[in-house]
Symmetry: C2
Subunit: 397 residues, 2 copies
């Protein structure tokens, strides 16, 4: 089974009443039985949360034993007290796993500007420590512990045999909203029993993030807490991967991260469509990304797809203000495979058929082709719905 | 009266069935009795509409006699045919005003990718030519002729005495959506009977736009058609303004443009709040603008205000990803005058009172103060509502 707990890890998810909802898990604890290599990528937001500051100072590492995650409170914009709380949360997690205080990392998500309820966090970590396990139930409970307004938990995995060792890569993530591109990423935790050096783990995670979480947005609002961690404890056996073996690992890691990124975009707050934007024919990959991201973040494009409306002018015009020079007479657009705009001119098409293809499928594909070169990029986003507005107008109160 | 037709102009608005709605004006004709100086600022979108291409080639000018405006069809993404249609529309407008073909400018707004119905445009221009007048009725009808989903027409004016001459400046504009910052602007037409040279008219319009229409957004989607024109026919008398007289004119022109920009933001599609964002304490004005614009375009900020929710973390975190370096411990935030966040730390505040102040007022004021310097900027936007989503999911079909 591709989604399972990699060798050498134990985990649990519990409800300790940080979130008001009665039954939802809001705290997860992940333990590595041996010191693991750990890498992290973090938000680029100047206003970053205390857990980001703490984890950033502790990664890359070769001795991490525990990760504690809580949802409901982000521990962001909380000043000096916030940093002390993050350190205490890490200390409690490490102690629960029989490790030293600085061998733990922490992740938090939820309300900004609220202090962590440390008594509940302490109770939660104690309760989770007793329940640590390797079953699918434990895995799902841990994945649920990081959710906020997500409607489903997000897990992805790959089992690959590299250099004679069966290696497992399993990732969990949360998304929903405050999801912006050009960030380090949202909350994600990827566990592997592969053997990696800290430097290679950091490079592998950075490369995978670039093509997955950084090619995804829900509302373009970069969070204060975005973090993805990669733990590699080497329990699969063998020496740290290098060369072709490392490349094979990278491919599997990329796939796990893309699966999670698509799961996050498809479960964007209020989303009814997972929109994939493929941009091709650009002078360079950065240009293709910039155009794809600009289309993805246009409220007019996102509402049109919510309305199953093949309003292609919104897509072409969004590309036009991406800040990337291109020949407007070289632009071709396809929507769910239907040709709508070719070399800068409108094309006759069956509007009813295109509209039906949008309405009847959760997956929507926008393909924009330019005439500047051969570089391309993929990007994922969600549509903008009345439910997104309702959720975010009502979230606080 | 500050909003009236300046000396030497005649205008009319008619319904010629470009728009499906039965009674709404969809064509306006504005005539200057003598050749007027004309300046224009235009969209920066690479995919720009045919009227933009035409007007850009004809401004600045010292001999414009007519402006024809139609709504319902944008004449954008329409290829060579679109440019021929724009030229024909200008020729018809010029002929109706007894002028030469190249003495007219055109503005269009509405559906992208649809060709202008030239028979209706021709009928509309003929019908408008017969009704040209200077009354308030004529002015309002012309202002209505450029509207799309706007709920009200937008007019602003100032009467100022400069160098012994009474000068009138009257502007009309349309907004509603596909409103993005860093554009040349939306549709706007500003008429004055002041005497200006073409170069000074262009500079005056550019300066006024920079502090008004370019400091305003509804949804951040830059249009293919954004245009503001300034016509100055000198009918007030006197030599072209210069020095202190020109500065006095600039002040009045700035006020007219700010009035129109605020009217557009406040009438954004589905809007229930006009949000003013004041950013201060920045190293330079560009940094302040960049922060204000990033806050203005965050869907999370916009939905929070729609929900009357003092969710200040969204505002502070949006500032953090604006791409402008700042000290996070030097940030202070006020919302409708209430202090919510001071020098990087949360402040105790009466959430009910702040929420009530948002709910009970259409005007909302966000004040963000940084500690990097003394530069500041104002920006206007609308909230993001379920009605915006409904309007834009249903617009095409």
């Amino acid at each position: 089974m591709a989604v399972c707990v990699p060798k050498g890890y134990l985990m649990a998810g519990v409800h300790c009443r940080i979130k008001r909802a009665l039954r939802n898990e809001d705290l997860a604890l992940v333990m590595s039985e041996t010191p693991a290599v750990a890498a992290g990528v973090y938000t680029l937001n100047i206003v970053c949360a205390a857990p980001v500051t703490l984890d950033r100072s502790r990664t890359p590492s070769d001795r991490i034993r525990a990760v504690a995650i809580c949802s409901g409170v982000a521990n962001a914009c909380t000043g000096e007290q916030g940093l002390r709380d993050a350190e205490e949360m890490a200390r409690l997690a490490a102690a629960a796993c029989g490790a030293e205080a600085d061998q733990a990392l922490v992740l938090s998500t939820g309300m900004i500007g609220v202090h962590l309820p440390m008594d509940k966090v302490a109770q939660g970590i104690s309760a989770a420590a007793v329940k640590l396990g390797r079953s699918e139930t434990s895995l799902v409970a841990a994945a649920r512990g990081m959710l906020t307004t997500d409607t489903i938990h997000k897990l992805a995995g790959r089992t690959v045999t590299i250099a004679g060792h069966e290696i497992q890569i399993t990732g969990m993530a949360k998304g929903a909203a405050m999801m912006g591109p050009n960030m380090a990423t949202m909350l994600g935790l990827i566990l592997t029993d592969a053997a990696l050096t800290p430097e290679r783990a950091q490079n592998a995670l950075g490369a995978a993030t670039e093509e997955s979480f950084n090619c995804m947005s829900v509302d373009g609002h970069m969070s204060t807490n975005d973090t993805t961690l990669l733990l590699a404890n080497g329990a699969a056996g063998g020496e740290p991967l290098e060369g072709d073996d490392l490349a094979a690992f990278q491919t599997a890691l990329d796939e796990v991260c893309v699966d999670l990124a698509k799961a996050i975009a498809g479960d964007g707050e209020g989303a009814t469509h997972l929109i994939t934007i493929e941009v091709g024919g650009c002078a360079d990959r950065q240009s293709a990304l910039q155009i794809a991201k600009t289309v993805a973040n246009s409220p007019l494009v996102k509402t049109a797809l919510y309305g199953a409306d093949p309003n292609w002018g919104r897509i072409v015009s969004a590309a036009g203000y991406a800040g990337v020079p291109f020949n407007p007479n070289g632009v071709t657009l396809r929507l769910n495979g239907f040709l709508l705009y070719e070399k800068g001119s409108p094309v006759e098409f069956d509007g009813q058929a295109v509209s039906a293809s949008i309405r009847d499928n959760r997956d929507t594909l926008i393909q924009l082709e330019f005439s500047e070169g051969t570089a391309g990029r993929r990007f994922w986003t969600a549509d903008l719905t009345a439910e997104y507005v309702r959720l975010n107008a009502d979230y606080h109160t």
